[in-house]
């Protein structure tokens, strides 16, 4: 390493600036590509002209409507969910002090799978016109319900990190089996439930995008304010206490914040696995373990990875669209295996 003689804080600041600049450029490029490609592909020149037209007069032509009504909210949704799940992953990994933990560890994903299934069953007859909202609301409530159960069991067991992992596993199993029963009993809903369980951005539009963007942004900012605390917590609960951090309250409040963040993401797009595990890892490989760099890096890489995976989902077997959750899992599994093998060798 060459900056031994340099100030470490100055280096940190410089790296953060670089990270933000490179990240923004990459995001803009991926943003334009996401607008350009789909069942109908357009050149970047057309995209640019359309954006200018949309900004000045609103969407008028067919292409402009596709860009404005379908692709724009979709790519913004992918960015948002990528950020939310990645930041939640960073939080869970730090608090559990295990870099192999993911945001679904407190049972949020299985809970929201169950909630979404219940929503689909209820959204019939007169209620069917509200199905667009009943399912996400059901998923959100289900996610929080699962988290609350995990929380109560883990708290009762002693409230240490490992108790949350174990309680999360059993809660997840319980909700998973109920969801399976619902699928078996109600054949017609099997397809919709399955597509929720594998996640997709097809249902993201202007009517629900803000419901994701506002809470994800707010919760992410809240987590950013605690970057130094997340560093200290890596030294262990007792050591963090001896550095003056009220560990018990910090851990509990951050578990709640990160679970809320996860539930918001899952509610609208379904369960997308591995992003919250893979992205913090990639970020840690690039910028190291300091959360003041790791959190911004995870935001950038999370948004990029999610949008890229969604592009693959849209294009790989066009016009058939694949579930983005399955794509992420296909990327995530070998990555996870690689990490396990690497750790085994050390």
């Amino acid at each position: 390493m060459s900056y031994t003689s340099n100030s470490i804080v100055a280096t940190g600041k410089r790296r953060l600036l670089m990270l933000v600049l490179v990240g923004i450029v990459a995001l803009i490029i991926l943003f334009l590509i996401s607008l350009a490609f789909g069942p109908v592909s357009m050149s970047l020149g057309v995209i640019w002209q359309s954006i200018v037209n949309i900004v000045s007069t609103g969407p008028t032509s067919g292409n402009e409507r596709i860009i404005f009504n379908l692709r724009l909210p979709r790519v913004l949704g992918a960015f948002t969910v990528g950020i939310g799940l990645s930041v939640a992953g960073v939080v869970f990994q730090a608090i559990i002090r295990n870099p192999l933990v993911d945001p679904y560890m407190t049972g949020v994903s299985s809970g929201s799978g169950f909630g979404a299934s219940m929503g689909m069953i209820m959204a019939v007859g007169a209620l069917s016109t509200y199905s667009l909202f009943i399912v996400p609301v059901g998923a959100f409530i289900g996610g929080l319900l699962a988290f609350s159960l995990t929380f109560i069991v883990a708290k009762g067991a002693g409230g240490r990190a490992i108790h949350f992992v174990l309680a999360g596993v059993i809660t997840g199993m319980a909700f998973g089996s109920i969801t399976t029963m619902i699928m078996m009993v109600d054949d017609e809903k099997t397809h919709s439930i399955l597509s929720f369980l594998f996640g997709s951005f097809t249902s993201v539009g202007w009517n629900n995008l803000w419901l994701m963007v506002v809470p994800v942004t707010a919760l992410t900012i809240l987590i950013f304010f605690k970057a130094r605390e997340f560093n200290v917590i890596l030294l262990g609960e007792e050591q963090a206490k001896q550095l003056g951090l009220d560990v018990t309250n910090f851990n509990l409040s951050m578990l709640v914040v990160a679970s809320l963040l996860t539930a918001v993401c899952v509610a609208f797009v379904g369960i997308i696995a591995f992003i919250g595990l893979v992205v913090p890892h990639l970020a840690r490989m690039i910028v190291g373990g300091d959360h003041r760099l790791l959190l911004p890096a995870s935001v950038m890489i999370g948004a990029l990875t999610m949008a890229a995976a969604d592009l693959v989902a849209k294009l790989a077997f066009a016009p058939v669209e694949l579930p983005v959750g399955a794509i992420m899992t296909l990327i995530g599994v070998p990555f996870f295996a690689y990490l396990l093998l690497k750790r085994g060798k050390e």
Binding site: R97, L235, K241, M285, R292
Partner: protein, 262 residues
């Protein structure tokens, strides 16, 4: 400097510390010895306020520890942890800088002063060349020095060290003790309390020793006063030969377990 007065502590019904009373001067290097489970770590945790005591009081630098908040304690009392963080790609200077957390001023970055203090600590413990190295790539001795440097930049009045040498090779054991000895010589305002079950190592380096058995202080004094064949027999249940070398260092050679020879 540090004084403990009639401290009693219970774990539910178990009376873990009995009437712990002692006082330590500025610049003193005090060892806490006794068999496993005798209450060494409990004592350290009672001193830095991690465990709530039921009776008595602990004062560090004139302040009653058990009336202070966690951040206030962190400014006068630091601790060298026994556990090491898992692989999170942390580097040496990053870990050392965490010791500046109780003194933080800004929201995000440390300032110039923090950095100077951390740099000085890296030089003091001779890990400056490893500053950006991943902590998981360090030798056990280098890790231990990193953790001591972290405790040092907290600028405490009292540094607590719990079993620093248990998993170290012989050379690193001696080096860690040398570094601590050197530290206390240069920081006359600070005291160090160190818990270990290595009697000879403690006898060689500490100014005074506290001998603990079942949560009670059996003896407190210089190594020569505390390490006697009678005390070793009483506390450890071991027949030992205690000798004094020419340069005044006490050496204990265990002979046999008294229980098995009865």
């Amino acid at each position: 400097m540090v004084c403990s007065d009639d401290v009693n502590l219970w774990y539910e019904n178990y009376h873990a510390l009995h009437d712990i009373t002692f006082s330590i001067q500025k610049g003193e290097f005090v060892g806490l010895i006794g068999p496993n489970g005798c209450g060494k770590s409990t004592m350290l945790r009672a001193i830095n306020g991690l465990l709530k005591i039921k009776e008595g009081c602990v004062k560090v630098d004139g302040k009653n520890i058990h009336e202070l908040s966690l951040p206030e304690i962190a400014k006068i009392c630091s601790n060298v942890p026994t556990e090491f963080p898992p692989d999170f790609n942390l580097n040496v200077i990053g870990v050392v800088m965490m010791g500046r957390y109780p003194h933080r001023k800004g929201l995000w970055w440390e300032d110039e002063e923090d950095e100077q203090i951390a740099r000085e600590a890296l030089r003091k413990f001779e890990i400056d060349h490893l500053d950006t190295r991943n902590i998981n790539q360090l030798s056990s001795g280098e890790r231990q020095r990193t953790l001591i440097a972290k405790a040092y930049v907290q600028q405490p009045k009292l540094m607590l060290v719990d079993e620093p040498t248990s998993h170290l090779d012989l050379r690193y054991k001696l080096e860690v003790m040398e570094y601590l000895r050197d530290l206390i010589a240069k920081e006359p305002d600070m005291s160090i309390m160190i818990a270990s079950h290595d009697i000879n190592l403690m006898a060689k380096y500490c100014d005074r020793l506290i001998l603990v058995k079942k949560g009670k202080i059996v003896d407190f004094g210089t190594p020569q006063q505390v390490i006697t064949e009678k005390n070793i027999a009483e506390v450890y249940g071991v027949k030992a030969k205690v000798t004094l070398s020419e340069d005044g260092i006490v050496n204990t050679v265990p002979q046999y377990s008294l229980r098995l020879r009865d």
